[in-house]
């Protein structure tokens, strides 16, 4: 094989472009990971501004701040921006930075395509956010884009459709890259069952992405042709069915929620052993639990549709199948707690966030079980109870895990320790304000307050006012994180190669900050 070994002298270190061109053309997984993380934070702030506008309107009953049409655009775009712009790209950013470092690879398997996966996101964001400014404004059909509403929307809907196509393309290429990197680029000795759990959860997430993003592309394509080319997929007069849209969408949508939570499980599974100073309890069961969650996620989608109408047999099946997911999820929570059991615990910011994650995510998991019970769901469907539920899993789940991971790996990325004091302040403010915002929503929903409506009956006023105060507190707390990251990138206490004494893994064997090129010679894993 001598002919295929590139000459080491003719290696690619010399003429790397600088300035803007470096970022536009880079093939380095660390550069690309950084861009993903910055992009997702910018989108997080824009989606957050939308959320705060929604909460400002809901501070009191009646209409004060925005018109109902614009309110509907805000709820729709808040969802789309947070799901596709903030949470998903943030996890891909972590994958880019960490997976090659964790498995001992020199880079991602397809470094050029990696660049394209990232640089497709800004165009998609331009189309999506730009749609606010086209005639009729952005789509207001809700982030689920249900037909027939989405078939009737204005030009903004078409921009959203093409934005989703481009984001889907980015996700599929990113996911293929991650799968191939994990399957083919592991250092010698890094057997699959020795891999860090973050890599396992991302491998399974990437599989879900490749399986369901094309289905979403198909669904929005059908909306596009129903809108402009006379097809009847979602039109009963032509023999189609608007309910079919919900089936196709949720066949994508339910695995999508695991796409947003499985990498979070991975991050938490890295952090808890490090700060409990004990190996992860039940590694193999964690892998199997992740795989079972992924498989089950394909067969439970219609639990989003109990109120849409379904035969009783279907309701029973989807109810029990959904509840089954609590079993592997319970295994995971049990394993995290068992890892902490009799460990030498210390609570630096990453561990605070990870521990907070277990508490609040588990609340979201429990309310998910309640939503899964078909007779109860008929009552709480499309109320604030559902809003409370999915914010407990997406904010307290995905977002808290992202912060945990950021505090954990910032020393490796920047070479400096993030401020302990600010990190703890960020955590406690976020935890308190998060619960002030979303806990009252359970009561609002149980009392019957519908979601996605800019006005409400007077008896809901107190809890809504409380939620709005919490939301503004939560939003402002995130500026602490911005300060932490900026300070950390600029300087601060230098970080050791392994700044957390209990941390395990190949990423801690390289210096901090990680050099531009790592593991060009694959390490040997024993």
């Amino acid at each position: 094989m001598a002919a295929v070994i590139p000459d080491p002298l003719d290696h690619h270190h010399h003429h790397a472009p600088s300035g803007l061109m470096r970022w536009l053309t880079t093939t380095n997984h660390k550069d690309i990971g950084t861009m993903y993380l910055i992009f997702s934070f910018v989108m997080f702030l824009s989606g957050g501004v939308m959320a705060l506008t929604i909460r400002a309107e809901l501070f009191q009953p009646g209409l004060q701040v925005v018109q109902p049409e614009f309110f509907n655009q805000l709820t729709t775009m808040h969802g789309l921006v947070m799901v596709f712009g903030a949470i998903m790209p943030a996890f891909v950013g972590f994958a880019n930075w960490q997976i090659p470092l964790m498995i001992g690879a020199s880079d991602m398997a397809f470094a050029r395509m990696n660049n394209w996966s990232f640089w497709l996101l800004p165009p998609a964001a331009i189309l999506l956010l730009g749609s606010f400014f086209v005639p009729g404004g952005a789509t207001a059909a809700g982030w689920t884009l249900y037909a027939p509403l989405s078939v009737q929307m204005g030009m903004g809907m078409d921009f959203a459709i093409f934005a989703i196509h481009i984001m889907g393309l980015s996700s599929i290429m990113g996911a293929i890259n991650i799968v191939v990197t994990i399957l083919n680029m592991r250092a010698p000795g890094m057997a699959m069952m020795k891999m860090p759990l973050f890599c396992w959860t991302w491998l399974i997430t990437a599989y879900l992405l490749i399986a369901v993003m094309p289905v979403l592309a198909g669904a929005v394509t059908m909306i596009l042709t129903d809108r402009h080319f006379g097809t009847s997929f979602f039109n009963a007069a032509g023999g189609g069915d608007p309910v079919m849209y919900q089936h196709i969408f949720w066949f994508f949508g339910h695995p999508e929620v695991y796409i947003m939570i499985l990498p979070a499980f991975g991050i938490v599974s890295q952090i808890i052993p490090a700060f409990a100073r004990k190996p992860l309890f039940g590694y193999a069961s964690m892998v199997y639990a992740t795989a079972s969650i992924a498989i089950l996620s394909f067969v439970v989608w219609a639990h989003h549709m109990f109120a849409t109408g379904m035969p009783a047999v279907g309701q029973l099946y989807f109810m029990y199948a959904t509840m089954l997911i609590a079993v592997p999820t319970g295994v995971k929570v049990f394993n995290w707690v068992a890892t902490m059991w009799r460990g030498s615990l210390s609570f630096e910011p990453p561990m605070l966030w990870a521990t907070g994650f277990i508490f609040v995510f588990t609340i979201g998991g429990f309310t998910g079980l309640i939503c899964a019970i078909a007779p109860i769901d008929i009552q709480i469907h499309d109320t604030y109870y559902v809003v409370a539920h999915f914010h407990y899993v997406l904010v307290a789940g995905s977002l808290f895990a992202l912060f945990a991971g950021a505090y954990y790996w910032l020393p490796k990325w920047t070479g400096h320790m993030p401020s302990d004091r600010l990190g703890k302040l960020h955590f406690w403010c976020s935890l308190v304000f998060f619960n002030v915002t979303f806990f009252p929503m359970h009561f609002l929903g149980l009392a019957g307050m519908p979601r996605r409506i800019p006005d409400y009956a007077l008896q809901f006023t107190d809890f809504n006012a409380l939620a709005t105060i919490g939301a503004f507190g939560f939003g402002l707390s995130q500026l602490i994180f911005l300060a932490v990251v900026v300070k950390c990138a600029r300087g601060g206490k230098p970080a050791a190669a392994k700044p957390w004494d209990g941390a395990e893994g190949l990423e801690w064997t390289v210096p901090s900050p990680a050099p531009y090129h790592t593991f060009e010679e694959a390490p040997l894993v024993k």
């Binding site: 078409d158 198909g218 039109n235 009963a236």
Partner: protein, 288 residues
């Protein structure tokens, strides 16, 4: 242990991805404007397409040069194999959405619309016999009747053509493995020609459908599923034929040998995938 010795090829910084991103931004914005009858729409759209074509030529050209330059070792080869497999899986899921829609309307929606309360109160006399253009077609004054597409004319011939093309492609592959370059080139050429004949027949079928059969994209759910499924399949045949044409040009230029020819294999996998989609399509769209 060749694995520990062989360095994985990491490409240099490249400007192709950013061209691709600008192209898709123009493509998406242009298409969204075009479907809303904004004059600039088609111009922006086609500018996007042009940049995309430039990018694809440049990018794949560079990959071919790197491959010919011996930069790709066995592990890069393995990466390409995995990625092509997963890419085809994503395509399978895209078609699954449309096949799923066809299945859903035939098994659930149409029987529900044509029975019970729906039939009694909303659409009296709607029998739901497949194929149909939906209950609004009952009003024959407003909706002109159509004739469904038969299975045993052009579609059956097209099935034979695609199956034959799978065989000629495999014959070309054997030629490559046995270093019979003539067989490789002839097999590829025959496959591409069969693909082109298939597409020609399909174009004729569409003209026939719109003309004599009055079967159009807006002919209710039957027209929707028929044209979207066969249309996306036809698009994939076109892409597959372009891939095979590139492989033929590379074969003529002396690329590939019996050990290293993943580009050829990737195109062949794709072609067989398109073949299998057609077989399912023939059974559930044309025949049943």
């Amino acid at each position: 242990m060749s694995e520990t010795l062989e360095r994985y090829f990491v490409p240099e910084p490249s400007r192709f991805p950013i061209f691709g991103s600008v192209a898709l931004l123009l493509f998406g914005a242009g298409a969204a404007l075009w479907v809303n009858q904004v004059k600039a729409g088609p111009w922006i759209f086609f500018l996007g397409i042009a940049i995309l074509i430039y990018m694809l030529f440049g990018w794949f050209g560079q990959v071919v040069r790197e491959s010919q330059g011996g930069k790709y070792g066995t592990r890069v080869d393995a990466s390409f194999r995995w990625s092509m497999g997963w890419f085809i899986f994503s395509e399978v899921m895209f078609f699954a959405a449309f096949f799923g829609a066809l299945f859903y309307v035939r098994v659930l929606t149409v029987p529900a619309l044509s029975s019970g309360e729906n039939e009694a109160l909303l659409w009296q006399g709607y029998s739901g016999a497949w194929p149909n253009a939906g209950p609004r077609a009952l009003d024959t004054a407003a909706v002109e009747p159509f004739t469904p597409m038969g299975a045993w004319g052009i579609p059956a011939i097209n099935t034979l053509i695609l199956l034959t093309s799978g065989a000629t492609l495999t014959w070309a592959h054997y030629g490559l493995l046995k270093d019979k370059r003539g067989q490789l080139k002839l097999g590829l050429l025959l496959t591409i020609l069969l693909g082109a004949i298939f597409l020609g027949f399909q174009a004729y079928e569409y003209v026939h459908a719109y003309g004599e059969l009055n079967l159009r994209l807006d002919t209710g759910i039957y027209g929707s599923t028929f044209f979207m499924l066969t249309g996306f399949h036809g698009l994939h045949v076109t892409v597959g034929a372009i891939m095979l044409t590139v492989m033929l040009c590379r074969a003529v230029a002396g690329h590939f040998n019996s050990q290293h020819h993943f580009g050829f294999e990737a195109a062949a996998w794709y072609w067989h995938f398109v073949d299998v989609v057609w077989l399912i399509l023939f059974v559930v769209v044309y025949w049943l």
